[in-house]
């Protein structure tokens, strides 16, 4: 770690911390990656074993156990678009609802605004 210009001591130590730190962040997420790949495989194997016991394994293809998620992707997309729409809409509804709680912090209105939510 020899640079062209002289760097102060504390900066050198800083570089140590930075490198070590970045490596550890990676390590943490790599470990998570490995563990979760493993967990998913174990769960899949368990499901297969269960199905095998019940003698239904041959009826079902690998693909069907591990659903590709196209459907869920479609749903997610629909939800996303819905959210975008919803957002603006909710803005409007907010205003309407607010105009409705006309009188302010009456204890009676307290009750009402609560009731209407």
């Amino acid at each position: 770690m020899t640079l062209l210009f002289k760097i102060p001591d504390f900066l050198e130590q800083g570089i140590t911390i930075a490198i070590t730190g970045y490596v550890i962040v990676f390590a943490a997420l790599v470990v998570l990656f490995y563990v979760f790949t493993a967990v998913s495989k174990i769960l899949l194997a368990r499901t297969k074993r269960h199905l095998a016991k019940e003698g239904r394994l041959d009826q079902i293809k690998e693909d069907e156990i591990q659903i590709t998620g196209e459907v869920s992707a479609a749903i997610a997309m629909a939800l996303y678009l819905h959210t975008l729409l919803h957002d603006e809409e909710s803005g409007k509804i907010t205003i309407k609802k607010i105009s409705k709680t006309y009188t302010p912090w009456s204890s009676k209105i307290y009750g009402m605004s609560n009731f209407n939510r």
């Binding site: 730190g21 943490a28 990656f33 998620g69 869920s72 997309m77």
Partner: protein, 441 residues
């Protein structure tokens, strides 16, 4: 109506004259001379006073009389935040409380001669000061993380764990900013706190700065209180993610890369979703115990959500609880920008470093995705735009990815894929914060 107005003019003239007077007098205001006199007159307040003297004294207490240019500048900044939030819908849940907080924190008040009217956020006994404890003691951020955990769906991460690494890669922004801050003369703990801006995660930034740059002595080094500038920088740039990221994403990718389509993620079982937060909690905090307050709460919230048997607790955590804390956190972080504390040269340096860190982080995510593609076989390649979501700034950076992706292929929805590094980025920056604490406290 016209008649009435004439009548009001009596009052109006009194008011306007008074104000004019104040504004002009104030220009010649000097702390040493004039300030002393006011203090003196105050200490005699029990003595006789004519109505005019009383009015004069009151005027010496008004905001008009005590305002400095800095207050006005900061109030304009606060107004600008509110404007951005309402007009462009940039992170309104953060910018509205922070913007209003900036205004509230910069209403000028009389504080010469040690007089404490218990108004300012830095005055003992004021409400803002009490509420600010949640920031200075690092209590609010973990509670925010609890709520975030209770509303986060880790499915995309579970279904495609390799995208997790993008969330690690983008944390390069943290460590380079840390070095940059050291280079610019900040001491170790301060630099660590500044670096975390690159994590693009508001609560994490507040938490770490409350531990490392809180005005106390950390590991033998005297630190300045940088919580305000760091928090404001982090939240500002998070709100500006749709402005900051796209140019960098375009610079580092070619058209072919930007149109890569990714396999839709597989469905995730309920059991996997329950196991994930538990295992992730244990693993990440064993590796970086300093991340415990943040990641412990994040995954606790997620367990409440995914266990399926504590719906009411998860509901409260992600609604009332996070809302209350968001209101108080935003307000006090905003108010902590009181001009005389906030408008300093180091605040400007922090803002410059913060901007760079977001750029570096984005680049880190995108470039690492390209590196991964070298090793991945055809059909499993990652669209490098997705790497930009690794900075966290949830969910805005994921939305930016989606928007950018659609520009080059209107049917290529990247949102779901971007969610994985997005969420991983949060974990990554919390781990990084824990590491900083271990090294620097």
């Amino acid at each position: 109506m016209f008649d009435l107005k004439r009548a009001f003019t009596v009052f109006g003239i009194i008011a306007v004259l008074a104000l004019m007077n104040i504004v002009f007098v104030q220009n010649g205001y000097s702390k040493s001379a004039d300030g002393m006199n006011i203090t003196e007159s105050h200490s005699k307040s029990i003595a006789k006073e004519s109505p005019m003297e009383g009015l004069a004294k009151f005027i010496s207490y008004t905001g008009f009389r005590n305002a400095r240019a800095g207050n006005i500048i900061m109030i304009l900044v606060g107004l600008f935040f509110i404007f951005l939030a309402i007009k462009y819908d940039y992170e309104p849940l953060l910018l509205i409380p922070i913007g209003t907080g900036i205004i509230i924190g910069n209403i000028p008040f009389f504080q010469d001669g040690g007089i404490n009217l218990q108004l300012g956020i830095y005055q003992d006994g004021s409400v803002l000061n009490y509420l600010y404890y949640g920031v200075t003691k690092g209590i609010y951020p973990p509670l925010i993380f609890l709520g975030i955990g209770a509303m986060t769906d880790f499915s995309s991460l579970i279904s495609n764990p390799k995208l997790m690494l993008l969330g690690a890669a983008a944390q390069v922004g943290i460590f380079l900013t840390f070095l940059g801050a050291l280079f610019l003369g900040f001491n170790m703990p301060e630099a660590g706190a500044i670096g975390i801006i690159g994590g693009a995660d508001g609560p994490t930034a507040i938490f770490l700065s409350s531990k490392l740059a809180n005005g106390g002595i950390i590991n033998g080094l005297e630190t300045r209180n940088l919580i305000g500038p760091i928090a404001i920088a982090a939240y500002s740039y998070m709100a500006l993610v749709p402005v900051i990221q796209p140019p960098i994403m375009r610079l580092l990718t070619n058209k072919k890369e930007r149109t890569i389509r990714m396999k839709p993620p597989r469905a995730v079982s309920k059991l996997e979703k329950v196991i994930f937060p538990i295992v992730a909690l244990i693993l990440t905090t064993f590796i970086s115990p300093g991340a415990l307050p943040l990641l412990g709460m994040l995954f606790f919230g997620n367990i409440l959500k995914e266990s399926g048997v504590t719906k009411r607790l998860a509901d409260t955590a992600r609604n009332s609880l996070i809302d209350i804390v968001t209101i108080l956190l935003g307000l006090t972080v905003g108010a902590s920008t009181q001009a005389d504390v906030f408008l300093t040269s180091q605040s400007i340096l922090i803002f410059i470093l913060g901007a760079l860190s977001f750029i570096v982080a984005t680049a880190g995510g995108v470039l690492f995705a390209k590196v991964m593609n070298v090793f991945l076989k055809e059909g499993s390649k990652i669209n490098p735009l997705v790497g930009a979501a690794g900075v966290s700034a949830v969910p805005d950076s994921a939305r930016v990815v989606q928007t950018e992706g659609l520009k080059y292929d209107p049917s290529n929805h990247l949102l779901m894929h971007a969610m994985a590094p997005n969420v991983a980025g949060v974990i990554g920056s919390a781990v990084a914060a824990g590491i900083m604490m271990s090294f620097l406290m």
